[in-house]
Structure formats: structure tokens, C-alpha cells
Symmetry: none
Subunit: 224 residues, 2 copies
Amino acid sequence: MRILLVEDEKELSRALAKMLAKEDYDVDCVYDGLDGLNFAMTNMYDLILLDIIMPKLNGFEVLSSIRAKKIDTPVIMLTALTSEGDKVAGLDKGADDYVAKPFSYNELSARIRAVLRRKGKLVSDNKLEYGNASLDLTRYSLATEKGEINLTAKEFELLRYMFEYPSFVATKEDLILKAWGFNSDFESNNLEVYMSFLRKKLLHLEASFTIESVRGVGYRLSSI
Amino acid sequence: MRILLVEDEKELSRALAKMLAKEDYDVDCVYDGLDGLNFAMTNMYDLILLDIIMPKLNGFEVLSSIRAKKIDTPVIMLTALTSEGDKVAGLDKGADDYVAKPFSYNELSARIRAVLRRKGKLVSDNKLEYGNASLDLTRYSLATEKGEINLTAKEFELLRYMFEYPSFVATKEDLILKAWGFNSDFESNNLEVYMSFLRKKLLHLEASFTIESVRGVGYRLSSI
DNA sequence: AACGGGCTTTAAGATTATTTTAAGATATCG
DNA sequence: CGATATCTTAAAATAATCTTAAAGCCCGTT
């Protein structure tokens, strides 16, 4: 999941980014409202974390602008303001949730999952869905109406990435990066072997979709 | 997309050009403000990356001059100056964004996309449109109201180039360069074969335009 | 320290999609 | 009408990907 973090306190920003990365979110950080607005406009994020008190444009202004442009990316406001009035103002302008500083990381994490779930990006607290299948992020398993099957670590990372960005072609580079990490100058056909494993499991579960290969580029999910 | 890079530090320039090329931008490099201004005046770029501290004319001067001539190509200023004052000055003079050195490549890349999108050069983050068709850069596919069809790597590169510069005649040399790379002294009719493939797919999708051939020169998109 | 089980990697041959070649058909221009 | 350029199609060549089996590795257990 891609998260845009708009927060002018650099230290807090860095700490949050690190923790979010640890939970496998892909995070972009910007440090003022104007950049926040510009980045939000690319419409490529699954969630925006938006501070209120910031230079140039405050969080409320950013929120109003992006909603005015019909960008419906979910937004969680982060703020030191604790009054109920401000909270209501934010929700009125189209925020999806509101977290008062100081907050615990666990609280933020839970609220992020809650919002993603409400917006249909996550199914239940820790599941991703595509077609008739559901990928359980806590159990490393994949299920359809035909049953549940366990995935190995590599299978899981690969499928998870494709489930998170189901409309994209996942490039081979990105997939290798996700499952094997940085300097994996793969001259082997390992990725292909794993795609074969996954396809076999999808077939076995009678999934309503397949993994298509896009020659020279990567793989994509595609409904049958 | 065509980018003009005006940057006097040759090493940085070369590194940036390489990375931008990897993301399929067409980059022209110049190394001082005067050349920057001259090239910008051709009005053929989708974006200008403009250093501030440069020989002959500095970035602010270049920017003022091109805006005075009603050239509205988007401009992103690149600079070592970190003061807010300079940033504001640049934005006041008509810059569209401002990136402080040192910057990460990801940041620049995201800002470029944000600017192109704001300026209407990109439809959403990763689609190009022409007539009733939309070329999805993340899916390597082409869609109209009749459906979606997958493109092979070569088909995609060729059509992408024509979608990016729809008002121009794409010369055969440029198209071959894009799809096959440098030393492709093509004596074959490969390009024509691919144009035939593409026309067949456009017909199948009931596209509102065709690929016209311009005898002796190349091809152009043309509404029916 | 040896064993076993599951996961991961390697390797090789089979398969398939893409790309290239080639040749005849069709169009354009002076 | 020739001469030249382009179009279309099918078949051949190429290169990417698939699949399978076996080998290697890691980790917990004995």
C-alpha cells in the first residue's frame, strides 16, 4: 500500500516513515502543504496522512483542495489540536479519520488499517482480496470458497505485491526487489519458478483469475 | 515526454539524463543559461528542469525571459539554494515547482509526474489519451469503450511515442530509434509490419482515429 | 553432531509469444 | 505507365517463459 506522509516536523516524519516501512507500506514523505497537495494530485496513493499545522498550506486547505479535484484517496489528519471543533471541521471537509498527537504508533497503525478496510483497500483487518480469493496477511494463506492453502514466504511476498496493485503490471524488477531485496542481480529463473508454483495453487483453489505474463516486463493479475 | 535539462554541473547532468531516459523521457541537455533560453524558446518541451546558479544567465533570468515570451512550458527549478526566500522568488517568477539539492531521484521523479499531471500532460498518473482511446502505461494495454487489448513491447513503444506527440508526424527514424534503439540500420520492413499490427488492433477496438502514413516521412495519428 | 522436513535455488528441456524475414498485393507519384 | 513506397500475410527464427525434477540449504529436533 502506498502512503503519502505530509508532516513538517522532520524528526516525527522520519520516525513514522521508518515504522510504516517496517509494516510493508511504501511511503513518500513531503514536508509542507503545497508539496502535499501536489503529490496527492498524482492520485497514486492508497492513503494520505496529513498534518494540520504546516507551512504554506495547512492541512485543512490541502484536504479541501484535493477533495475539490475529486481525488478520493482516504485521508487521516494528524494534529496537535485537540478540540472537538477541529475534529469535526476535518471530518466535514472529507477526512476519514483524525488522530490527536501525541499518539502511540499502535493506535495510528490500527486506524490506518481501519480506514483502508472501510475504503475497501483491505477486506478485514488483515486481508487483501482479488476476484474470489482472499490473501490472509496474518496467516500467510490464500483462500477461496474451495478452501485455504498455505503460502511459503516467497510465494506470499510476490502475491501480496500483486494483490496490492492489482491493476498494474508488476515488473520483474519490483517483484524481485520485494521478495529477495536489493542487490539480487538475478540471472536465475527463480521468479518464474515461483510464478509457476503460485499458478498451480491458484488452479487448485479454482481462483477466478490468473497470473498473466507480460513478456519482457513482468506479470499481472487478470480475471478469467 | 520531452524534457530540457539546463544544468551546468556536467556530472550531475549526465546522471540525471541517464535516469530520466530510463523512465522513457526524451532528454536534451544544455549547460548554461543562454543555451537553456534558446532551447526553451523552441517551445517543444513538455517540461524544463532549470538549475539556478549557472554561467551567462542564471535560472531566474532564464525563467523570467521565457515567461515574458509567453512560453508556458512547466518549469521545475533545481538548486543548492535552500532559503525559503529563493523558493518563493522562483515560484513568483512562474516556476511550477522547486527541488532543493541534494535531492533523491525518487523525489524528483515524483515531482516531475506531479507537475506533468497538473499541467494536463498526463491524464492520470499513468495514462495517455488520444481520441476515444487510452493507453495504459502501467498495464501495457490500450482501451476504448469496446474493451481493452494487450500490446507487445514493440507495439507499445511505437504507439506510446505517437500518443505523446500526437500532433507531429513521427518519422520512421524516430520510431525505429524508440522501439529498436541506436544502431538499427533497418533495411527490413519491420516498422511497417508493426504498423499493420497496430492498425488491426485499433480497428478491433473501434478507435476514433487511424494511423496515417506520410509517404517518405513516417506516420501520424489522425481522427476519422 | 547428525537427521529430517520444508523451503529455496539451480538446471535443462519443452513450450509459446514475439519478432523478423520474405514475397506478393496495393497504393502513390511524376 | 513505370518506379517506388507501403501494406498485409504467412512462415521461419528467435528469445522469453514455463515446468519439472533434483540438489542445496536452513532450522528445529533428537
